[in-house]
């Protein structure tokens, strides 16, 4: 009886974000997000971008080992598990990027000497993985009720060999691209929280990608708002 109740209660919010204001080739893939789907973590969320899917769980504010505690703020830990195999160096570096983004946004000073742990599991990877991880982490932190000063989202851009900008690239587009740039933006003033780039690009191209990412983040934040409103409208 319990599982059925939980299945009924899961709120699925799906929005197809068709296009961004720019032109062909700059559209974001279909988004879907589901919150509160795991029973053990304090907050959980599953974020889908096209075929890329990441499951996030947040535990906190919880007990922390004395060796890891910080006297005046919460210790934030991020664990990223790949779909197959053991976590390696690439996962460690992504964990660090996500942790730095979360630390900029989470009000850790409200919970000193505690730990907030974000566990991310890659369910399927079809491009823009880091952006999807960031989005899932943000939704899971909101679901857990961790106090934050803003929401954040991740957007990936890929630059072709002839300079065309593609937002939210698939893995094929990422492989063929000259440069892949991922940005984390906050919701209050679309400020840049984190950027991770790979490949060759010029300064003006960077600015162009950043502007495109800021425009695209509007759609992501609107999707967050609608999905959260749907969740609270049920209660």
């Amino acid at each position: 009886m319990e599982e059925e109740m939980h299945t009924d209660a899961k709120i699925r919010a799906e929005i197809g974000t068709g296009c961004s204001p720019r032109g062909p080739g700059c559209s974001l893939r279909h988004f879907a997000c589901e919150q509160n789907l795991l029973s053990r973590p304090d907050g959980s969320a599953s974020f889908l971008q096209g075929d890329t899917s990441v499951l996030a769980g947040v535990y906190g504010p919880a007990e922390v080992k004395v060796s890891k505690e910080i006297f005046n703020k919460a210790t934030l830990e991020v664990i990223l598990r790949p779909k197959i195999g053991l976590p390696g160096v690439a996962e460690k570096s992504r964990e660090r990027l996500i942790r730095n983004t979360c630390e900029a946004v989470v009000l850790g000073t409200l919970h000193p000497r505690t730990s907030i742990t974000v566990v991310l599991q890659v369910v399927s990877d079809a491009g823009s993985l880091l952006a999807c991880c960031l989005n899932a982490a943000c939704m899971a932190l909101v679901d857990a009720g961790v106090p934050m000063r803003a929401l954040f989202c991740g957007v990936t851009c890929a630059l072709d060999s002839d300079g065309t900008l593609v937002l939210d690239p698939t893995s094929k587009q990422e492989k063929e691209a000259r440069a892949v740039l991922t940005f984390a933006l906050d919701s209050v003033e679309r400020k840049l929280l984190m950027s991770s780039t790979k490949g060759l690009y010029s300064d003006s191209e960077l600015q162009q990608c950043l502007a495109a990412a800021q425009a695209a983040s509007q759609h992501v934040f609107r999707f967050y708002r609608e999905s959260l409103q749907r969740r609270y409208s049920k209660s």
Binding site: D42, G60, T114, L151, E189, A211, Q214, A215, Q218
Partner: protein
């Protein structure tokens, strides 16, 4: 380079702070800023920051507003830090603008002074019991904080017992401390919770809903079977009925109440009352 600038300007225009009054009952997201009633008068209908002329320039009467859970003071405004519905309560008597808070759904408990909680005794060290309340740290409970306890007459508390008590010290910097007596020294229902029964965990929002003054769920449950029930603000409920089967039924009903509408609930109650 003009592109990013123009794009940024659009966003800033869109993220202007809204008046708290207009957002009451709506879902607010972390990062939003809310204006208090006194400030929006100052902003004026034209938005040009016109202020009425007053003879006494410095004597603006400030309305004192209490910032509840989910909100932080940010300069003159309120910053939303959790996602949920914005609520407001008028002040009962006297001055003040009342309380604003965000009603959010959460599973994790953070100790708050004055809250009554159910804890599990995890350790006995010297004069203090360590009690797990579901927060980030175990709370400490002195053996003298029970009714009628003296140094010679120690309370009979073992590791693994359930305790119903309230917090006297609970802030972010110190270890939480709880007691099982009220300010007059009487137990008032607090203390060790008896044998048998079932302890289970629900979300904090459900506890608040069940403890609201006009909650029908508890009245209906009471009509079903005779029962004893204890609610802890940390999301824990202890329930005991005559038989184990009845106890389990009650536990399942209370857990499921979160997701059911009142019609579904009435159906289930009527079905149980028949059988």
């Amino acid at each position: 380079m003009a592109e990013p600038v123009s794009v940024a300007a659009e966003y800033l225009a869109g993220s202007r702070a809204r008046a708290a009054r207009t957002v009451l009952g709506q879902v607010v997201l972390p990062g939003e800023e809310l204006l208090l009633p006194e400030q929006e008068d100052a902003e004026g209908p034209g938005g040009a920051g016109e202020r009425p002329l007053s003879l006494n320039a410095g004597a603006r009467s400030r309305v004192r507003v209490v910032c509840g859970p989910g909100l932080r003071r940010c300069g003159d405004r309120l910053l939303v830090t959790k996602c949920g519905r914005l609520r407001h309560k008028e002040p009962g008597s006297g001055s003040g603008g009342g309380v604003y808070w965000v009603d959010s759904q959460q599973k994790r408990y953070v100790p708050v002074k004055g809250d009554h909680v159910i804890g599990i005794v995890t350790a006995k060290s010297g004069d203090i019991f360590k009690v797990d309340v579901g927060g980030s740290e175990p709370a400490s409970l002195s053996y003298l904080s029970f009714e009628g306890a003296t140094k010679r007459n120690r309370p009979n508390v073992q590791v693994g017992d359930l305790i119903y008590g309230q917090f006297v010290v609970a802030n972010k910097d110190m270890e939480p401390e709880m007691v099982c007596i009220d300010s007059c020294g009487r137990a008032n229902g607090m203390g060790v919770i008896g044998q048998d029964g079932l302890l289970f965990k629900v979300t904090l929002g459900l506890i608040r809903k069940l403890l609201a003054p006009d909650c029908e769920i508890i009245q209906e449950v009471g009509k079903l079977y005779p029962l004893e029930i204890v609610f802890g603000m940390n999301g824990r409920i202890w329930v005991k009925a005559k038989t184990i089967q009845q106890t389990l039924i009650l536990a399942n009903i209370l857990e499921a109440c979160e997701h059911m509408t009142s019609d579904q609930r009435k159906q289930i109650f009527s079905r149980l009352a028949e059988s």
